[in-house]
Symmetry: C2
Amino acid sequence: MRAVTIRDGEIVIAEHPDPVPGHGEVLVRVAAAGVNGADLLQVRGGYPAPAGSPPDIPGLEIAGEVVAVGPEALRFALGDRVMAVVGGGGQAELCVVHERQAMPVPAALDAVAAGGFPEAFATAHDALMTQGALSMGERVLISGAAGGVGTAAVQLAAAAGAHVTASVRHPELHDAVTGLGAAVVLDPRDTPEAGPFDVLLELVGAPNLEEHLRAMRRGGRVVVIGVGAGFKTELNLLAVMGGMLTLRGSTLRARPLEEKAAIARALEREVLPLVERGVLRVPVAASYPLADAAAAYARFAAGAKLGKIVITPGA
Amino acid sequence: MRAVTIRDGEIVIAEHPDPVPGHGEVLVRVAAAGVNGADLLQVRGGYPAPAGSPPDIPGLEIAGEVVAVGPEALRFALGDRVMAVVGGGGQAELCVVHERQAMPVPAALDAVAAGGFPEAFATAHDALMTQGALSMGERVLISGAAGGVGTAAVQLAAAAGAHVTASVRHPELHDAVTGLGAAVVLDPRDTPEAGPFDVLLELVGAPNLEEHLRAMRRGGRVVVIGVGAGFKTELNLLAVMGGMLTLRGSTLRARPLEEKAAIARALEREVLPLVERGVLRVPVAASYPLADAAAAYARFAAGAKLGKIVITPGA
């Protein structure tokens, strides 16, 4: 099979042996695979693949068709459309995934959009709902709302009955984020005045965090899952105590099978029904055939986009 | 009644009108009232009393006898021994408290020890169990383990089946903290090697926090409830993300009635039975009659003590 391959910090397309599904695994012919920040870090050498994943093939999410099932894999049949978060190796013509990590693709989702769904929605749902315990009626600030996780988070929070303030750096994307359900869309420099917030989803990192913390309501929850703009911040512990604040960090890629499987079940139960009803969608800024993977990474790194960048090995 | 009174940043004993119990409140003749860090901050002018509490009488915890009951106060009768966390005004001959905040004093606890119980055990139990979700079998680091909250926390964590590492600055107190149930007692500079920890209870503040964070296990919970040694720290968000860490801050004094009442119920259910059985005790470093309150504060500020400093208006 052919796959996006990291060679000396560069993106090339190379041949690899076809993967073989083991116990409980399915082999997926990948129609589409999203690009994520962790892939970019991995290409640049700063974020090695987790144990058990191909060290040189990036790609944390896939959608495609089941073309082989391993022993004791019972959830899917040949030809089923599936999508999944994987530990790596997704940006390839073929990928194996444990059946407990895979989800059925709703009919409402085309193959390209499905390739951009798993990581973004799993990350956003886990961060907002499981880590942040967001409830209906609460106010949430989504810092860095225009990207893949951000656009998923805005839609999920609005669908759950929360009041969404979205912080978006590029003014030309403000209207589109409003269209996803944000009640208020602001420049990052203006966000504190829009508070106080019960939940902050921080996708940008350190630069505005101190200011964002001052905009939290008593008992507020801060979930940090992106630090692209910086990771060192000064923390005022007295303010954290006085505000009864909770700050937690989270990543998806390194989670063990049981946690990724639990997240997949939560998405099947809580999120896929809303995808099926058309309430939630996957904004795809651009898609690229496998041969143009380097262009996909360049577009991802350039930013100023709404939603996902997707590579389509099946195109 | 006479009460410890803050006048121009000094401790004096002054006359005040007797308080009158309102709806749902009881009037307590105070036998003993602990001294806490928040009192010291309040005397120094940095931490005004919460709304509804006397602005000039410190004291966050009391034990004594019910001498009057307000309208619709049904939980206690005249003569009952009670103890409670209060918002302020505890270091006085008389104090009113809402009956939902009050707990019965177990027979195993004498009046002086009871006066040092509520704040320390409520704070430690809420921080370890409610905020930190400490489970049996887990490893906990208690940073600053020799004080009132620290000695309560060591005993509670050990009683709950956790493995307790206690960080204590004064070597002469190490044996006593071992006697409270700590498996390991260390100098603060040595704590990271004793990890990794599932829960960190930080009672000292910023100075060692960065180092303590590096000693946390994946998914660890950090609860900050004391910052006496400093409140500004640098936080590495990437480490928080990679470690799936949760950091939360908490204070007890400013909580509303319903939260203080919920904490009192939790103590009645989970902690008082162990006090009654003699499993948990209240180490009292020293007690002082009301007239010597200034000496009690000086002793508290000097540190290097095991457990509580208690003022005894009823002595």
